[in-house]
């Protein structure tokens, strides 16, 4: 019966397309398994971790990113984004999104470290992608802070502002402040290009230079504000606004007090 059914339809033009697709899936699947099974396991650990990560993914992420992480009209594909992307996006609470909008806002993470690691392990098995940076890669202890400052001003300051305070982009999007970013998050952001941030690959911005940038951001985070009231370190425009409003109001109040007749 089945044989007869197949025989009757084997000249159907759809069969050729179906066979072609099947072949592509088999070859592609075999290739991707062969090419990244090893790094994924090496980087992220056991098969159970991957399976649990997949479970978490299907529950929490698949409604937007698709059952096979292929992407839908609500969210981009996660094939090839790597463990670093997952660690950054979920670890900083940007994903899952609270609501669709211009900006993925950082908030308290919905998953704990362990769960994030599992999801990262799962996504890393989909296709080769940037791994979560090692402790050695983000160790900025010996990095050149001054060089980091130069590199920051060339590559980062146009969006994140010279003092890392963040700034506006187009149509409601913005580059976030870096004041609470950890070295790992900074590294991951440069490597994966979250949201609209471009990617700064290890080839064009080598690990040493990334370390220098992290050291500079750390310096910005630690730097005290000797005079106080840094006003977001946004510079003369904000300082001028403060002067023309708060300080002028105080001066006018003083002038009024001088002018009022005593009782």
């Amino acid at each position: 019966m089945t044989v007869k059914f197949l025989a009757a339809r084997r000249r159907n033009p759809a069969v050729a397309i179906a066979l072609l697709l099947l072949a592509l899936v088999v070859v592609g699947g075999a290739y991707s398994l062969a090419s990244n099974a090893q790094p994924a396991v090496a980087a992220m650990g056991s098969q159970t971790q991957v399976e649990e990560g997949k479970k978490l993914y299907l529950e929490g992420c698949s409604s937007c990113h698709g059952l096979n992480a292929q992407g839908t009209k609500y969210g981009p594909t996660l094939i090839g984004v790597g463990a670093a992307s997952v660690h950054f996006q979920v670890g900083t609470g940007r994903m899952p999104l609270a609501a669709p909008g211009a900006q993925a806002v950082a908030k308290p993470p919905a998953y704990n470290e362990d769960e994030v690691a599992k999801m990262a392990a799962y996504v890393a098995t989909l296709a080769p992608g940037p791994a979560i940076p090692s402790a050695e890669q983000v160790d900025y202890a010996d990095a050149d802070v001054a060089k980091g400052g130069v590199l920051f001003r060339i590559n980062c300051a146009q969006c994140h502002q010279a003092a890392g305070q963040g700034g506006a982009l187009t149509q409601g999007k913005y580059a976030p402040s870096l004041m609470n970013a950890t070295p790992t998050e900074i590294y991951e952001a440069m490597l994966t290009g979250p949201q609209n941030m471009p990617v700064f690959s290890d080839e064009t911005l080598p690990v040493e230079e990334k370390k220098a940038i992290i050291a500079y951001v750390n310096e910005l985070q630690q730097a005290p504000s000797p005079g106080g009231l840094s006003l977001g370190r946004l510079g003369p425009v904000v300082e001028g606004l403060f002067l023309w409003t708060a300080v002028f109001a105080a001066l006018i109040a003083a002038a009024v007090w001088i002018g009022i007749k005593a009782r």
Binding site: K147, V150, L151, R153, I154, N155, Q158, C159, G167, L169, T170, K173, G193, Q195, N196, M197, P198, V199, F200, S201, E203, T204, L205, E209, P224, S225, P226, G227, G228, L229, S230, W257, I258, I260, K261, A262, R263
Partner: protein, 352 residues
């Protein structure tokens, strides 16, 4: 006309511009009627002056004792330098208390009865006017200013021409190197066919050696870049003009997302090179959104669509962002295929 009548007190109700406040009857202050209140005010003023002295002492103590690098947390202000905040606060309070004490003294204890201060008329007397006029006429007559026409005209001419050298000297603010055409200088950059592209590391000495391979830039990637020989040029020219003009950004997008380019095949496998200098007033821009492919200038919000020939889609820029045609050399490094085909940076006079 000025008469003695101006010096006489007049009825304020009939004078134009009189202030209604003058109609309010004078009421004595508490300190005028109650000697106890007056003594309280006296103590108040004296304690302000006293406090000012205390703050001066505190200032000296703070100056001597507080470690210059110590920090302290103060609500609202945040973590601030302990020494700076202590010195500023004590000195500020010392001078402020002298001021407030003096004002309080004047307001509460010094007499506050309204008095009329009489003034003379500001206008000159007719006699003074006549004398001034006569002086002028005599000077005109004696100098012969009206008589010697040629002297008068040459003097006016000399004074009119005198400021011209001041304007001419502005020319020296920018000196075109000998034999160079300024329009040519503004229209060309250091890029030429086959010149390798290197990442801008911010270094200003030494030399660039490391090129960029196409596979170094992932889709969504951004690199600020320069010509490989830019260090030699800036060393020879003793300035950074060439570096400023040649600055570019490299971005990579999926080739299917590129809607148009300024020239056929000017990209290399989705890698596009654009000038980094805004065509509005020349701010360096690398504020690139890799999902929208928009390049935004932080100075005046000009926005360029790099997926669509670098066209202006928002803001005051009048020209699109110049694109640099690129390819790879035989060793597989990214190179320019020519110089920019239009001047980079803001418009200038000769461009029209």
């Amino acid at each position: 006309m000025s008469t003695d009548k101006d010096l006489l007190p007049v009825d304020p109700h009939n004078e134009p511009g009189h202030l209604p406040i003058a109609d309010i009857p004078h009421t004595p202050r508490v300190t005028d009627t109650d000697p106890k209140a007056a003594r309280r005010a006296e103590r108040q003023v004296a304690s302000m002056f006293l406090l000012s002295m205390v703050f001066v002492v505190l200032f000296v103590v703070a100056f001597v004792t507080i470690d210059k690098s110590a920090v302290v947390y103060i609500p609202v202000l945040g973590v601030v330098g302990a020494s700076q905040i202590a010195l500023g606060f004590t000195f500020g309070m010392a001078i402020l208390l002298i001021g407030t004490g003096a004002i309080q003294w004047a307001k509460k204890l010094m007499p506050d009865v309204e008095v009329v201060q009489e003034r003379h008329s500001m206008a000159s007397t007719p006699k003074e006017d006549e004398e001034a006029k006569a002086d002028y006429e005599r000077g005109k007559e004696e100098s012969g200013f009206a008589r010697y026409t040629i002297i008068r005209r040459t003097l006016i001419g000399a004074l009119a021409l005198f400021p011209i050298p001041l304007v001419i000297m502005l020319r020296d603010l920018w000196q075109t190197p000998p034999g160079e055409n300024p329009v040519e200088l503004l229209s060309t950059t250091a890029w030429r066919d086959g010149l390798r592209i290197v990442p801008d590391t911010g270094e200003t000495t030494g030399e660039f050696v490391k090129g960029i391979r196409p596979e170094d830039i992932p889709v969504g990637g951004l690199v600020s870049a320069l010509p490989i020989d830019i260090m030699e040029i800036q060393k020879a020219e003793h300035n950074l003009n060439a570096r400023g003009k040649a600055a570019i950004i490299l971005v990579r997008m999926d080739p299917s997302e590129i809607r148009s380019q300024q020239g056929e095949g000017w990209d290399y496998q989705g890698i596009l090179a654009y000038s980094k200098i805004c065509t509005h007033v020349g701010c360096p821009i690398a504020l690139y959104e890799h999902r929208t492919h928009h390049l935004l200038c932080p100075c005046h919000q000009s926005t360029f669509d790099l997926a669509d020939s670098g066209d202006v889609i928002f803001g005051p820029a009048a020209r699109r962002m110049p694109q640099l045609p690129i390819g790879v050399d035989e060793e597989g490094f990214l190179v320019a295929k020519s110089d920019f085909q239009q001047p980079v940076g803001p418009s200038f006079w000769e461009r029209g």
